[in-house]
């Protein structure tokens, strides 16, 4: 084989690309994650086992085992906050899922291409809005004297409601704002799921049934389940840590009408400065989130092949 002897030596692997090149590309993301994700979580975990009240530094920060956890689990305010959060969750989530599905089905229908693209773009606006800003918008909408909510109620003949200073009104207001912000998210996820249904399968079903409900239930729903699972998990985690929007709108009030768990934890941590107890609460919340997510994955998640 004469040609092999004359062939140039095999080219060196690309200069600048070695074993560690992928690591360099990953490093910024991993470091950032360590810095703002992992480290604070571990810090909170450690803190949750300590007496850690920063208004009394002279007491030191001794390890006290599970005392914080026992305190938290026997604290009736913690439980009532958690219950209120659960109530909030079971109120907003069904509304968001159903409304989101309706919007997605409407946008999935053929025709009116221009308007639908416009609607899809508009759906992103609430998602892109910061929670705090949503809270501010909420305060304006539900203002007793010049809010648009009362203006609309006036049109249909209802007197002005003092939304933010009555317990039920305030709860309804934060529900409405959360629904406003997160229904579009559900709609987009469901829309993606609906567009996954192969056209011919939908058509095959249309030849067998004229019921839109049967089509949804038997043919489209299986394709929506992965998205629904994602919505449930993300919304569970999100509701459990929902803070800014409610804090800006109501500060947890009036009374404890909107005192969601994250607002309560914030108060323990940054008003009473009992970081040990607050950390224990936060860790419990994290565990709860993980359990709920695993449950949803087990119960709902199905791949369609």
């Amino acid at each position: 084989m004469s040609d092999t002897t004359t062939r140039a030596a095999p080219a060196k692997p690309n200069r600048g690309y070695g074993r560690w090149t992928p690591a360099w590309f990953l490093a910024p993301a991993v470091l950032t994650l360590l810095l703002i994700g992992i480290y604070p979580t571990l810090f909170a975990l450690v803190t949750s086992f300590r007496r850690y009240n920063i208004t009394r530094p002279r007491d030191g920060f001794p390890f006290i085992g599970f005392e914080n956890y026992v305190n938290v689990l026997t604290d009736s305010t913690f439980w009532s906050s958690l219950l209120l959060t659960a109530k909030f969750y079971v109120t907003v989530l069904p509304i968001q899922v159903v409304l989101g599905l309706v919007v997605a089905l409407l946008l999935h229908k053929p025709g009116m291409g221009m308007l639908k693209s416009l609607a899809r773009v508009t759906l992103v606006v609430p998602l892109a809005t910061t929670y705090a800003v949503v809270g501010l918008i909420g305060r304006l909408i539900f203002n007793r004297d010049f809010g648009v909510a009362n203006q609309f109620l006036g049109f249909v003949g209802f007197g002005p409601i003092d939304w933010l200073s009555t317990p039920n009104g305030a709860f309804a207001a934060i529900v409405i704002m959360d629904v406003w912000q997160w229904t579009p998210f559900c709609a987009l996820i469901f829309l993606a799921g609906l567009s996954m249904v192969p056209g011919e399968i939908e058509e095959a079903a249309r030849l067998e049934t004229s019921s839109k409900l049967a089509l949804l239930r038997h043919v489209q729903l299986p394709y929506l389940l992965p998205g629904l699972t994602a919505v449930m998990i993300l919304r569970s985690a999100d509701v459990l840590k929902l803070f800014d929007m409610v804090f800006v709108m109501t500060r947890g009030g009036p009374g404890s009408a909107t005192d969601l768990i994250s607002i309560y934890i914030q108060r323990v941590g940054f008003r009473i400065f009992d970081l040990g107890t607050a950390s224990a609460q936060a860790i419990l919340l994290l565990i709860l989130t993980i359990i709920i997510s695993r449950l949803y994955i087990r119960l709902l998640y199905r791949e369609v092949h």
Binding site: I201, L207, T209, S211, V304
Partner: protein, 360 residues
């Protein structure tokens, strides 16, 4: 008795007409095949019969009922799709039972119907499987099973065999033909494959660019194509066309001139000789399978360019002006490229078309 009737059916997408007025009727139990090149509108037409596409204008009747604007599920038609379109999350049994369940049939009847269809299609062993665990041929059977359990008035097939390999395709073709015979049902079948059309159809509708080119039985289309399009589309290999000049027309015979002809001239007899004048162009159509090699009185005298042996027969490509002339001959003639080919043909097998391509 007319069972399916299309009356001047049209379809426009915006300003673009896709189906430009198709009228056609099929009797009960007939197997009708829509055939044509891609983009001719055959699938659109089928989907309009199914109700999956709106009809822009015209009327559609199934079993004497106007279904032009009826919902798909209420037309009592079933359809087998190219991609089979099985419900991926349902078992074979559930796939076949779905339509009956939607129609709220009693469970015992559903079970009986599905079992019967599974028996006909040899799917009994697969009833519990999900579609993803089936081969292409099995999926196709399930799709067919799903359509027969409902006892529809009309079976529609949209290129059902084009995703299968060649062997399975011919096997399924035979099965569909048998199924048609045993069910005695009216079927409309879309394909771009003229072999499927020829073998399955009682009647073929040849479509081009949204218009019907010709309707007829397979042999009618083969023997009496209405124009060069149909002549070229039906038959394989494709018909050879020679654009000859009319040297003289006398009585019922025409003297045609073209360098391809032996001696540059060819005399043909046709009752419609009077319709052409001297100097005009006439298209001569010659089917490859009708050309015989080493003829005593050759019609064409050409040089062999290339020969393809198919084992039992040989396909000969002869050099000519424009497209090569193809001849299909039995056996393996002892010919080399460059040899002179003297091709003969029975005068009854010469097709003549006018300059516009219409049959003379």
């Amino acid at each position: 008795m007319t069972f399916l009737r299309l009356d001047n059916i049209r379809k426009n997408y915006g300003d673009t007409p896709v189906i430009k007025g198709v009228s056609f009727a099929a009797t009960k139990g007939e197997f009708v095949v829509f055939v044509g090149p891609s983009g001719c509108g055959k699938s659109t037409l089928l989907r309009m019969i199914a109700g999956l596409e709106d009809v822009s204008s015209g009327e559609l009747y199934i079993d004497d009922r106007d279904v032009t604007y009826e919902e798909p599920a209420k037309r009592e038609v079933s359809m087998v799709f190219q991609s089979y379109a099985l419900y991926p999350h349902m078992s074979v049994f559930e796939n076949m039972a779905f339509g009956l369940r939607m129609a709220k049939k009693p469970e015992a009847e559903i079970k009986a119907q599905v079992t019967e269809a599974a028996r006909i299609l040899q799917l009994e062993a697969l009833l519990d499987r999900k579609p993803r665990a089936l081969s292409g041929g099995q999926r196709q059977r399930v799709a067919i099973g799903r359509s027969i359990v409902r006892h529809p008035k009309l079976f529609l097939f949209d290129e059902p065999l084009s995703n299968l390999d060649a062997e399975l395709r011919s096997q399924m073709r035979v099965e569909i033909a048998k199924l048609h015979r045993s069910l005695g049902a009216t079927m409309v079948y879309v394909t771009h494959d003229q072999v499927e059309a020829m073998t399955l159809a009682d009647r073929i509708v040849v479509l081009r660019a949204g218009l019907v080119e010709q309707i007829g039985s397979p042999t009618e289309l083969y023997d009496n194509p209405a124009n060069t399009f149909v002549a070229g589309f039906i038959g394989s290999p494709k018909m050879n066309f020679v654009n000859a000049k009319v040297a003289s027309a006398a009585g019922d015979s025409l003297l045609l001139e073209h360098p391809t002809f032996a001696g540059g001239k060819l005399t043909v007899k046709t009752p419609s000789a009077a319709r052409v004048k001297t100097g005009e162009t006439v298209i001569v159509g010659l089917r490859p399978e009708h050309l015989s090699v080493n003829a005593a009185t050759p019609v064409l005298s050409l040089t062999l360019d290339f020969a393809e042996s198919l084992g039992g027969s040989t396909q000969l490509y002869a050099r000519s002006e424009g497209e090569p002339i193809i001849a299909l001959t039995a056996g393996r003639p002892d010919l080399k490229p460059g040899d002179v080919l003297n091709l003969g043909i029975d005068p009854r097998h010469i097709y003549l078309f006018d300059a516009a391509g219409l049959a003379l």
